[in-house]
């Protein structure tokens, strides 16, 4: 059976690529500290020696649209082109192409359908920065095949937080049951408190530092019950109008396991939103 080599949860900040590659007066003052934190975080994936990456993210109205909106979708294709014109335009993100792992994608679809998750699928998916940001931060050589898993945190009606946790648990179970000797890292990205297009956007910190503090604690301690007791679809409006992206972190808490304390936790208070990085080694680190 396959091994879950690591479970990794992270924010996906589209400005990291530009901040980390800029020089001279263009380079923001926080770039060096940010790069140092990302390089330390990257080591946590490198140490896990993965063969394949399950990448949980959320399409930002790029390919998935309101005329045909899936709640949870698995990409099953030999390749995934990546990043979109408006992400090049606003964030300076590069065009990329990643290989797909179709055997695992097919397995997750079959097993997911058979265990109560009516997963949608795509055989031609152009992925966006919710998946490419963690590739850029955690595996910039982009040399491993992926299985993208998209969630809807964007276009209401959304699945409830508990459903994200359940899907995370199911992904973990399914990967562990995959008849393969591959080492799989399950990586997912979301947000802490975040406001986009509203009055609280682009402040000196995230819009709700108190929520961020609690969220980091829930995640780092694997406190799924505590998190579910406070977080609802309604409550997530309060910390910021884009905070429903936190449910992808909740999915990753499900994948990491109830009460599973993160083996690695870090965060960085930036303008606009707080960055947060977590790694679990369910089977211990290899080196």
């Amino acid at each position: 059976m396959a091994t879950v080599a690591a479970v990794i949860a992270s924010t996906h900040h589209p400005f990291y690529y530009r901040a980390s590659t800029s020089a001279g007066p263009e380079r923001p003052p926080f770039a060096d500290e940010w790069v140092a934190k990302i390089e330390a975080f990257r080591q946590t994936l490198t140490r896990a020696e993965p063969d394949v990456l399950v990448m949980v993210g959320s399409d930002h109205f790029h390919q998935l649209w309101l005329d045909n909106m899936p709640q949870f979708l698995v990409g099953k294709a030999p390749f995934f082109d990546a990043n979109w014109y408006n992400e090049e335009r606003e964030f300076g993100l590069p065009r990329m192409r990643l290989a797909g792992q179709e055997d695992l994608a097919g397995y997750l679809l079959r097993e997911g359908l058979d265990s109560g998750f009516d997963l949608a699928f795509s055989n031609e998916l152009r992925i966006d920065h919710s998946v490419t940001c963690p590739i850029i931060t955690l595996r910039p050589q982009a040399d491993l095949p992926i299985v993208p898993v998209y969630t809807n945190i964007f276009a209401p009606p959304l699945p409830r937080p508990g459903r994200f946790v359940e899907l995370g648990r199911a992904l973990r179970r399914m990967v562990e049951a995959w008849p393969s000797d591959q080492r799989v890292a399950i990586i997912g990205t979301g947000h802490l408190s975040l406001e986009l297009g509203g009055p609280r956007q682009f402040g000196p910190h995230g819009p709700d530092p108190e929520f961020d503090r609690k969220a980091v604690e829930w995640i780092a301690n694997g406190d799924i019950d505590g998190c579910l007791a406070e977080v609802t679809l309604d409550s997530l409006h309060t910390p910021g109008n884009a905070t429903h992206g936190f449910m992808d972190f909740m999915l990753m808490m499900g994948a990491a396991g109830d009460g599973a304390k993160a083996d690695y936790t870090d965060s960085l208070d930036l303008f606009h939103t707080m960055e947060a990085y977590f790694t679990w080694y369910p089977n211990g680190a290899t080196s």
Partner: protein, 119 residues
């Protein structure tokens, strides 16, 4: 109310570099053309398979023609779509982050709960 159609306008314009420029320089002409020719286009179908029922309200048309992001927010347009497109059109006229901060300040009178964005 046709929040879906507002979102469809923002979405289809934002993803097309030529349309971004056209909407920036000629909002009234772009909105009129779009409503006439594009509003009822099914995005993943051949041109002949059109819808027949989509149209803006006067208020929605005015908000789009006025490049009025505050009014669009009030009408329940998806804030991510509005922000992304408006940054593409207007950030270039300002210093770093200046436009984004002014965009938020223009909405400082808005309190929770925000308008519902469900379509």
């Amino acid at each position: 109310m046709s929040k879906y159609l507002l979102d469809k306008f923002l979405y289809t314009v934002d993803r097309d570099p030529a349309l971004v420029e056209r909407y920036r320089s000629d909002p009234a002409g772009t909105v009129a053309w779009w409503e006439q020719d594009m509003a009822n286009t099914l995005l993943n179908c051949v041109a002949a398979e059109k819808s027949t029922w989509l149209a803006f309200t006067d208020e929605e048309r005015r908000a789009l023609i006025g490049h009025d992001h505050v009014a669009l927010f009030g009408l329940g347009a998806h804030p991510f779509l509005t922000l992304t497109l408006f940054i593409a059109m207007f950030e270039r006229d300002h210093g770093p982050l200046e436009y984004q901060l002014a965009y938020g300040r223009a909405m400082s009178h808005i309190t929770m709960p925000y308008p519902d964005i469900a379509t």
